[in-house]
Amino acid sequence: MPAGDARPVLEVRDLRTVFQTRGGEVHAVNSVSFDVKPGELLGVVGESGSGKSVTMMSLVGLLPMPPAEVRGGEVLLDGEDLLKVSPARLRDVRGGEVGFIFQDPMTSLNPVFTVGFQIIEPIRRHMGLNKRQARERAVELLELVGIPGARGRLSDYPHQFSGGMRQRVMIAIALACDPKVLIADEPTTALDVTIQAQILEIVEDLRARLGMAIVWITHDLGVVAGIADRVMVMYGGQVVEHAPVHPLFNDPRHPYTRALLRTIPTVTGARADKLQVIEGQPPMLGAAPSACPFRDRCPLAFDRCHAENPLREVVAPNHDVACFHPLAHTAKEAVA
């Protein structure tokens, strides 16, 4: 577990990312701030399209520019601002100090190279191992993520792997160089529960043993509840709530977070006839926000929400929320 007073290894301040499209600007990330300490796991949840992937890809220059443009902010990796470093240094950071697991394994694995090559190459580059050693490490990594017959599959191409196996190859690549920070974007969506459990064990072990800091994006609230230390909730390109995992699930304050927690089906208990949804459409993100992004779908919205964008305010220790409504500033016990 992270020491409470350790310095964050990754600190993001006021990050803003905008896309230029033919239809105008898309403000995908609006003043996002967060940090992670060594050995800590920050869970990131939020609606599809809320800017989770774009935020993380902005950190290490993974977005094509143009159309993307990082308009402002700081990304401090051990104090070094990654938005200001040279492209060469950034390439070193990616896959070296920062491991990245992409949401869509097929777009990030190159279809014309073998799986083996795609793991071995970064190991050789970042860890200075020779070909044989790198190959051994690649086999070890694939076994670690549970690819059966790993040695024999190094010469396969990505299309010969199943969806979940491709995802596990991505995980192996991201872990290859013992990164300080691991950014995992929906890393287990294609994995069944048993293999997911196995991957979660590996992750627990790595952060305990190597003090790896982890940012884990997922829509699986069950996974977040089980592994995160803190959770950040995103909506419409902004962080709307952030709290340690226990209060987030037991005393959620933002109306979006509350709605989100009501939508989960289970394997036990009564089976609902119809699943809960959050009515309404997500915001268009055509301009920098000037009002609360959730206002049109929010049961609690009032005048001020349409006129002003709420800032994140501390409501309890380590717990902040971006909402004007008094309920968001009242603890659960006080309401009941």
């Binding site: 399209g49 929906e186 048993t194 979660l200 509840a225």
Partner: protein, 354 residues
């Protein structure tokens, strides 16, 4: 559900991919991705197909739609045997059967706008005027929760979950009878998952659609499926009505799957839960073990399991399983030492007709 007419009948389906190696790239083996599965899907029902990553679910779904040339076995859709039919004559049937792909990227042409992608099946199979097609595309976008204003955007301008919904809208365009949904909701957040699942259910009620719903999300499958098939290493190991499967799983693999589901119980949040991780080697589908495929990891493994592949039997009405524990000759209450073995070994192809 009530009408028990099978719309899809799958018999001893096998899909093996050759492995080539050596200098001359000779075939030296095969990945037995699907190795003899038998099941029916009734008209208007949803059959859930679950199982570990790499066990052959996607391959099975694609093979049922004949996106591959089958190694062996037969598939009957709507009374028509399509196991060996040519791709050309299958084309006309494509309007009745569709697939939502696991990897949204795979089916989205990056140079086409979203409107064109969703409307492509309409261009191909209808002679509707432009306006009608456009109206249908917009209707589909509404249904899957994509903003109509995005009609002229390109796929890369969407988030992962938004791309998945483009694929769903496209599959629905022609109002097919049978849809194979391969992890259609894995990339979506829970609210949109719910929206898509509700949509699939509404369409089913309205149009009498039949689904093969591939997923590893057991709680979602519990919600949507009428019956559930569990696959392990190329074979179906258990098949049962939903409640029977979740309440009383008969196969140890199903038990293990159910026990490993992480549940967002607020009372438990922040405390670490006990996870059951299956131990033992995960065998490769190129080289499955002797006997039962699950014997290398089964917590209840018996001596017989290493020798004899259990038959896929109807243990209770409608509840099929392939496990020696359910066989009175080998089950827990019997000592296994005195058992005859030879005849069973020849009858091991699970999946006699039902």
């Amino acid at each position: 559900m009530n009408a028990q007419r099978p719309l899809v009948e799958v018999r001893d389906l096998k899909m093996h991919f050759p492995i080539h190696s050596g200098l001359l790239r000779r075939q030296t083996g095969a990945v037995k991705a699907v190795d003899g599965v038998t099941f029916d899907i009734y008209e208007g029902e949803t059959l859930g197909l679950v199982g570990e990553s790499g066990c052959g679910k996607s391959t099975c779904g694609r093979a049922v739609l004949r996106l591959y040339d089958l190694t062996s076995g037969e598939v009957v859709v709507d009374g028509r045997a399509i196991g060996t039919e040519s791709q050309g004559s299958l084309r006309r049937m494509r309007t009745t059967m569709q697939m939502v792909f696991q990897d949204p990227q795979a089916c989205l042409n990056p140079r086409m706008t979203v409107g064109a992608i969703i409307g492509e099946p309409l261009d191909e199979h209808t002679d509707w005027p432009r306006k009608k097609k456009r109206a249908r595309v917009e209707e589909l976008m509404d249904q899957v929760g994509l903003n109509r204003a995005f009609l002229n955007r390109y796929p890369h301008e969407f988030s992962g979950g938004q791309r998945q919904r483009i694929g769903i809208a496209r599959a629905l365009a022609l109002k097919p009878k049978f849809i194979v949904c391969d992890e259609p909701i894995a990339a979506l957040d829970v609210s949109i998952q719910a929206q898509v699942v509700n949509l699939l259910e509404e369409l089913q009620d309205e149009l009498g659609l039949t689904y093969l719903f591939i997923s590893h999300d057991l709680s979602m499958v519990r919600h949507i499926a009428d019956r559930v098939a569990v696959m392990y290493l190329g074979k179906v190991v258990e098949l049962a009505p939903r409640d029977a499967l979740y309440d009383e799983p008969l196969h140890p693999y199903t038990e293990a799957l159910l026990s490993a589901v992480p549940e967002p119980d607020p009372a438990m949040a922040g405390r670490k839960r006990e996870r059951i991780v299956l131990k033992g080697d995960v065998p490769s589908p190129a080289n499955p073990p002797a006997g039962c495929n699950f014997c290398t990891r089964c917590p209840k493994v018996m001596e017989v399991c290493h020798r004899i592949d259990p038959a896929f039997r109807e243990v209770r009405p409608g509840h099929f399983a392939a496990c020696h524990l359910n066989d009175p000759r080998y089950g827990p209450e019997h000592s296994e030492s005195a058992e005859p073995t030879a005849p069973e070994a020849t009858r091991t192809q699970h999946g006699g007709t039902r």
